[in-house]
Amino acid sequence: MVKKKIEKNNEYYREKYLRYIPTAFCPGCGNGIILNALVRALDRLVENGQLNMKNLVAVSGIGCSGWITSPYLKADTLHTTHGRAIAFATGVKLANPKLNVLVLTGDGDGAAIGGNHLIHAARRNIDMTVILVNNQVYGMTSGQTAPTTPYKAITTTTPGGNPEHPFDLAKLVEGANGSFVARTTVAHPRHIQKLIEQAITHKGFSFIEVKTTCPTYYGRRNPPKDPPSMVKQLKEITSRTDPNKIPIGVFKEEQRPTFYEQLMSIKKVKTEEE
């Protein structure tokens, strides 16, 4: 029997992977691009037999990024308290290692209030994929400064320009010994998709920083204000090769035992001794 090839149009992805749309994201927000890339990545993994959607648990925190998977993604979802998504996800993964755990977090959620959980999950090499959506600002609470806001940028709480310098999150997670570390932007949707596929199939702690646009609360006060130019700017300031630009791509990919594997190996030693 010849399998009829299904045409994968938007309708297909919507039906199969989303609970409902339209989303509540503002016009011009990058979150929709990330959701789109995510479902395409999931579909590819399912098709390749590398993922069973039944085993996927999408954990998210508080902030606009948290909505990418909850409520929209048709999968098991856990929408947690602010900053704690990675800590909740650690419990999910260790209690049932068969599950594929995906975390959607933002820069405020994952790098400010939840920064501690980020570095410790990386250090432990908990087998999960963290997509950190970096819009450089607190969007949901209407535009306050974040630990990722550029120096001198204007936000509602830095009206005279941000006196702080932002985190380099990829470097932070590398330093914390995450085993897969990458960065991309919403100006590179296919790259997002590819990185998500790589990250989910990578065994261990995988981290993707996706630089995105928040025209409503960041763009409003900082040039270039309109959504298309913001995306264009992301393309211009990042590069896979030019050392003078913000690097994107995979910075680290290393195979080492996960926390769970280490824990189980300790137990085996103990039972053999007895």
Binding site: S70, T77, V92, A95, H120
Partner: protein
């Protein structure tokens, strides 16, 4: 009860009780006087290939991981003390809202703040009830012996699983660090309750049965669960509708309140001569010298009842009231400046009973002599 006689540290008994109850996922962050619970669990779990102990980066992460693990099917616990318990409160509120079973053992020490970190106290009576934000029912048990550290650990798990509700095991440093004889029951004799599971897939995560308890679907079973701490309908969809929110919270309250007689367990010993004039009421470590004081007072000819609360919350006004009725005085012995006494007073006022605090702070348990003196001086005033 048949079983094995052992001489154990309170905190180790608590750990063994949790393990006997089927606890297979424990997180923790070191804190006096709870650390021995975590140490014992991490040691004993080496013998269980599928049980996980992980020391998290802080107490916030500890309870967060429990919630995630519980939805993945684990029976979970953490152990802490007052300061760590404070850090857990936000996520505890999340657990109430999402009806997530988990157990928090709190070994009370003397605060506020770092206070007398190595000395026992009973100051979290209200933190255990009202510490988290929002409007919810709390279930809190209180052990007074090493035996009860074991027994109530099991009861905490069974209750949490049955009601799909967090349970607080509110012990104190005195009992946690005490060594005592106890009986480890034979495993076949231990009654274990596991959460009710839905019969269909997909099942809405917040769809209750008629007895107000929602069966619990788990991650990885094909339910496409939508779990959120925001106001939600039975499917888990966010919905801030006033009626929906009211109904949901009222149901969660009924879930606990309709079982109040099953949940509340009090240890009482009435004066054998009957018609006691006074009653001494206490819980946890403070109940031990209280028990002794009651015997002495009886010997002196003062007819005295003894009441010890094994369940601190929910508070069973009706049953407590039946003990207070007909008394002139209720003496409430506790290691703080007056917490349980407020509840006793509230109920006792209906019966014209004078509630008297026998409080003690400073990290030292009362002597029975101190309690007796307070009773004497108060009764003298009344003459």
């Amino acid at each position: 009860m048949s079983g094995k006689k052992v001489f154990l540290l309170g905190n180790h008994a608590l750990a063994k009780g949790a393990i006997a109850a089927g606890c297979n996922f424990v997180t923790g962050y070191p804190i006096t006087p709870a650390s021995e619970v975590l140490e014992q669990i991490s040691l004993e779990f080496l013998n269980y290939p599928d049980r996980v102990y992980i020391q998290m980066e802080d107490e916030i992460a500890s309870i967060a991981a429990l919630i995630g693990a519980s939805w993945a099917g684990a029976k979970t616990m953490t152990a802490t003390s007052g300061p760590g318990f404070s850090l857990m409160q936000e996520n505890l509120s999340y657990a109430y809202m999402t009806e997530t079973p988990l157990v928090i053992a709190v070994l009370q020490r003397s605060g506020p703040s770092t206070g007398q970190a190595t000395l026992p106290g009973q100051q979290e009576f209200y933190q255990a009830r009202f510490g988290a934000h929002g409007d919810y029912e709390a279930i809190v048990f209180s052990p007074w012996s090493v035996q009860e550290m074991f027994d109530l650990a099991i009861k905490s798990f069974n209750t949490s699983e049955e009601l799909r509700h967090p349970v607080i095991l509110l012990a104190d440093g005195e009992i946690g660090h005490m060594r005592e004889n106890m009986v480890l029951p034979d495993p076949e004799e231990i009654k274990i309750v596991n959460r009710r599971r839905p019969k269909t897939v997909p099942y809405p995560p917040f769809q209750p049965d008629e007895d107000y308890i929602p069966p619990m679907p788990l991650f990885g079973e094909g339910h496409n669960l939508l779990i959120t701490g925001s106001s939600h309908d039975s499917n888990g969809f966010r919905n801030a509708d006033p009626e929906l929110h009211r109904k949901n919270l009222e149901r969660m309250k009924k879930k606990v309140q309709t079982r109040i007689d099953q949940l509340t367990d009090y240890h009482s010993e009435l004066d054998p001569r009957g018609d006691a004039e006074i009653i001494l009421i206490s819980f946890g470590a403070a109940a031990r010298p209280t028990y002794h004081a009651v015997r002495k007072l009886r010997e002196e000819g003062i007819k005295t009842d003894f009441l010890r609360l094994r369940t601190l919350w929910p508070f069973n006004d009706k049953v407590i009231g039946s003990f207070l009725e007909g008394k002139t005085h209720a003496f409430v012995v506790e290691m703080n400046q007056g917490k349980l006494v407020r509840e006793i007073e509230r109920v006792g006022n209906k019966y014209g009973v004078k509630s008297v605090l026998v409080g003690k702070i400073g990290g030292v348990v009362h002597t029975s002599k101190e309690i007796i003196q307070k009773v004497h001086s108060e009764l003298k005033k009344a003459d």
